[in-house]
């Protein structure tokens, strides 16, 4: 059953875009902890009935930009791979410095991740295509740029994709930095609702 996503809180999406730009300007692409949420999925028989994994997650370009951005990722790779993986990585970073400009350029309700198709997380999501994504950032290097510490939980429905425009976009984006990943699937997290979980408080966030 495929469900529609509800928009992520705008403040959260702005934060994610700022973190990703910071990752390019100050971390040469190394993911900030704020883009590495913990995924929790129900798994009968597992300890406490759930399994948890950390994943590096991504933002999806807005539907109006999806195809063109995929083509640009692919072109960057194809045009530079003969120079070596380092050259591809460096042009990828340069490209993304302009890419993470405005949250309006991204799909308002989707988070993505590329994971091995034969991992326990995928098995659990096949059985129960719902999860929570927990983002926990307790310290911030640059409050002016990336804001204050923040803890949020997103409840999501999940699609597991092995082809199609969303798969292609995430796969080519990943390829710029980590090379061609065979036998991987894309997890499309469709946001349903959000919670502010900082300091143990649980407060519903409005979009």
């Amino acid at each position: 059953m495929s469900t529609e996503a509800t928009p992520l809180p705008k403040e959260f999406l702005n934060w994610q875009v700022a973190l990703r730009l910071f990752t390019m300007t100050d971390r040469n692409g190394a993911p900030h902890i704020g883009v590495v949420p913990t995924v929790t999925v129900k798994r009968p028989g597992a300890h406490l009935g759930v399994i948890q994994h950390s994943i590096v997650c991504g933002l999806l370009p807005h539907p109006r930009l999806l195809e063109s951005k995929t083509n640009e990722f692919r072109s960057l790779y194809e045009e530079n791979i003969e120079e070596g993986a380092r050259a591809v990585y460096d042009v990828g970073i340069q490209y993304l410095l302009d890419y993470y400009d405005s949250s309006d350029d991204f799909d308002p309700g989707t988070i993505t991740s590329l994971v091995p198709e034969d991992c326990a997380l995928v098995d659990a999501l096949k059985a129960e295509p719902k999860c929570t994504l927990s983002f926990n950032v307790f310290a911030t290097e640059d409050p002016q740029t990336i804001g204050a510490p923040r803890c949020q939980q997103l409840d999501c429905d999940v699609e597991i994709l092995s082809e199609g425009p969303v798969y292609d976009n995430v796969w080519w984006h990943n390829t710029l930095f980590h090379g061609m990943a065979d036998e991987h699937v894309v997890l499309r997290f469709k946001h349903q609702r959000s919670w502010d979980t900082r300091f143990g408080g649980i407060q519903a966030l409005r979009g």
Partner: protein, 277 residues
């Protein structure tokens, strides 16, 4: 009268790997992932990288010892798959890291094996073949041991005997997988000098995998750095072997200085990569 075709005019590229994906039989993941590499005719190209980065796999794929899952290897512009075995053996010789030596085989008999791609159906060596074998034994300074069984030789001498076999094969390209491993320092230098001599005097294109980065810088015209099955960078040693590369690929902090005799590297300890590969 038209001029005769010049068959042996060396092409610009001796070997080319195009977008190679290679996995070992029975393993469900690629060891090489989209690896491209151009080997120029007449150069020495060193492959460096951590354990498991794909150096030996690339050497084996270039020598058609492993099937490629995707991509092509070209030998002098033609697909490797189109080469009959004997023709390929006249172009490319590959020495594995630890070649198996049949018991009782003498040095001379081993080196004579190098002539097999060149001799006729009955496998008899002619006077020219005999002369080439003798010359190969001289080239690696092992002629005095010609009648000895290989198992009687030291590791360095045995390695030289195998290289003599490759010389006798008269390939245009020589692929060597870690030729200096298990040799003491003096024999390492002697072997590398021998490879340089082969390259300079005979024009043999040499591709070798090697762990010692200073040796790679000393011997190679260009260096290809492999990381996790991908070609990270290729170029002259003084450009490619830098402190960033050692951090990204080998995960070590280093200080590298360029001196008259080549690059000097001081490894300071573990470090965090600059690029998140």
């Amino acid at each position: 009268m038209s001029a005769a075709p010049v068959e042996n005019l060396a092409p610009e590229l001796a070997l080319e790997a195009r977008r190679l994906h290679v996995r070992h039989p029975g393993v469900d993941r690629d060891v090489l992932r989209d690896a491209s590499l151009k080997v120029r005719a007449g150069e020495i190209l060193a492959l460096v990288g951590p354990n498991g980065s794909g150096k030996s796999t690339l050497i084996r794929a270039l020598g058609r010892d492993l099937e490629t899952r995707k991509g092509d290897v070209l030998v002098e512009g033609d697909p490797l798959s189109t080469y009959p075995r004997r023709r390929l053996a006249r172009r490319v010789a590959r020495l594995p890291q630890d070649p198996q030596t049949p018991e009782g085989l003498t040095v001379e008999a081993l080196v004579e094996c190098g002539r097999h791609p060149h001799v006729g159906a009955f496998g008899r060596l002619g006077p020219r073949d005999q002369a080439i074998v003798a010359e190969a034994l001289e080239a690696v300074e092992i002629a005095d041991y010609r009648t000895r069984p290989l198992e009687m030789l030291s590791g360095g001498e045995r390695r030289r005997a195998w290289i003599a076999m490759a010389i006798a094969q008269e390939p245009r390209v020589l692929l060597l997988d870690e030729p200096t491993s298990a040799l003491d320092l003096r024999h390492q230098f002697e072997l590398l000098d021998l490879l340089v001599r082969l390259n300079r005097e005979r024009g043999t294109t040499i591709v070798l995998s090697i762990h010692d980065l200073e040796h790679a810088a000393h011997v190679a015209d260009r260096v290809a750095v492999l990381s996790r099955g991908r070609v990270y960078d290729v170029g002259p040693p003084e450009r490619v072997l830098n402190e960033e590369t050692l951090l990204d690929v080998f995960r070590v902090e280093s200080r590298i200085t360029e001196e008259e005799g080549g690059l000097t590297m001081r490894i300071l300890g573990p470090g965090d990569p600059i690029r998140n590969f």
